[in-house]
């Protein structure tokens, strides 16, 4: 059973009560202008941390995105990434491209494109995926037959129907989050970490799960937090690791997250 997560900005009054100076840069520094990042089929928008946090590519295993490292710090980092294994399962873009190129491709390329556009659902993440992927593949089989008979009109209809079928697949956060959730495993022996219980909440209007942890190494204690959210069948990870004093900055960045419309809606 997960606890409740409140993802929001503590007010200045609360900050003062906690003994933090109201002009604490982590709470007051102006964030960058919102930027829209499109790493897969679903864009994500957020305001990046202020100057002094240097951005770089982030590609930890199975995810890609951006991280901001505080210059001259003890290794404090704010990261936003997409776990692309869900993006790779989605065939919507490929089917859309196939529909657009249907009259331009030669038969051999058409057959190859059709094959590459087939959903694979082994093992399926849920019953809906298993059923809809099977139904979409039946439609694509018919499209292949229609192409063999050079009936592009019928093939187009079947591919559109397959795309519609696949748009009904929906993953819940609980079904997909375990693959990326932070557990503290695999760390070197000189690092100790205490990982808290996952908590559930909401971010940008969709369900979110957060994991907090404390990590000790090099004579310092680092606060860590990872927040997971699924929007339009894409899994995003927002993470912070650094000193306690900069955790509010991470919370402010997270508060600006929104999801502009993507190419294919589920």
């Amino acid at each position: 059973m997960r606890g409740r997560l409140r993802i929001g900005i503590p007010s200045l009054a609360i900050a003062a009560a906690l003994g933090c100076a109201p002009d604490d840069p982590a709470r007051t520094a102006e964030l960058g202008s919102p930027e829209v990042f499109t790493w897969g089929g679903q864009p994500i928008s957020f305001s990046p941390p202020p100057e002094g946090w240097e951005r770089q590519r982030s590609q930890p295993g199975g995810r890609e995105g951006i991280e901001f490292i505080k210059a001259g710090s003890v290794g404090e980092v704010i990261g936003v990434e997409e776990a692309f294994y869900l993006d790779h399962r989605d065939r919507c873009d490929r089917l859309q491209a196939l529909i657009e190129d249907l009259d331009n491709l030669e038969p051999r390329d058409l057959a190859r494109a059709l094959q590459r556009a087939r959903p694979y659902a082994q093992p399926p993440l849920n019953v809906g995926e298993a059923w809809n992927a099977r139904a979409a593949n039946v439609r694509l089989d018919r499209a292949q037959e229609a192409l063999r008979d050079r009936d592009h009109g019928l093939a187009r209809e079947e591919i559109l129907a397959a795309r519609e079928q696949l748009s009904r697949i929906r993953y819940s956060l609980d079904e997909v989050v375990d693959r990326v959730m932070y557990t503290g495993e695999g760390l070197p022996p000189y690092v100790t970490v205490q990982v808290g219980e996952p908590t559930s909440g909401e971010l940008a209007g969709v369900p979110a799960i957060a994991v907090s942890y404390d990590m000790q190494y090099g004579g310092r204690t680092y606060r860590g937090r990872q927040i997971y959210v699924v929007n339009n069948n894409r899994l995003f990870v927002m993470r912070y690791q650094g000193l306690e004093k900069n955790l509010p900055l991470f919370e402010r960045v997270v508060e600006t997250v929104s999801f502009p419309p993507g190419g294919c809606e589920h």
Partner: protein
């Protein structure tokens, strides 16, 4: 020329360098049916003057695939095109067959619609990216020396960093591209704009080659 910048003339490419900041202006060759026709007809004239090697040089410098919107159109063109590409080579050719191939290739290209500048520019950019994880950050139609041009900024797909600017324009059907090759965007932007503001298109007579 902005202060501190050096100019190197490499023929189809002009380089402008200031330390580690590099800007290039490159003629990427014919990208419209009209300019391809001009070059193919020029090659035909050379072939008729028994200058097969010169004709070959011209024909092998062309990349006509981009002007064919459909695969079928390209496949139909490839038949005469593959014959023409043998001109000036070591394999024997039949003059009448080559003449027929020239006629067919010219008629097929002449029937094509001209692609617009954004389509041409994006296709050229995709060729330049070559798998690099870049995306278009901004595009803006503009004019340069009275000619329509397209300004495109690209950046790293993941971080929105390493911004680079390109400017595309057509000159007699050839695609010209000015691009930031190396250097920091904020430092190069003024020089890029200054260099382009001095650019004048000179109409030369005869085939561009």
């Amino acid at each position: 020329m902005p202060e501190g910048w050096q100019h190197y003339d490499h023929g189809l490419q002009h380089r402008f360098e200031n330390g580690t900041s590099h800007i290039t202006l490159t003629d990427l060759g014919p990208v419209l049916p009209e300019s391809l026709l001009r070059e193919i007809e020029h090659a035909r004239e050379l072939f008729r003057q028994d200058r097969g090697n010169d004709a070959r040089t011209i024909l092998h410098g062309l990349s006509p695939r981009g002007v064919f919107p459909s695969q079928q159109g390209w496949e139909a063109f490839e038949r005469p095109w593959s014959k023409l590409r043998r001109v000036g080579g070591t394999r024997p050719i039949v003059v009448e067959e080559v003449e027929h191939a020239f006629t067919e290739a010219i008629s097929r290209i002449a029937a094509l619609p001209a692609p617009d500048l954004p389509t041409i520019a994006v296709a050229a950019l995709e060729g330049m990216f070559q798998g690099a994880h870049r995306e278009i950050a901004r595009r803006q139609a503009t004019t340069l020396d009275g000619v329509d041009a397209l300004l495109i900024d690209t950046w790293d797909r993941l971080t929105h960093e390493a911004r680079k600017r390109y400017l595309f324009m057509l000159n007699r059907g050839n695609l010209l591209v000015a691009r930031m090759e190396l250097g920091k965007f904020s430092e190069m932007e003024p020089a890029f704009d200054t260099l382009l503001s001095t650019l004048r298109l000179v109409q030369i007579q005869g085939p561009a080659s």
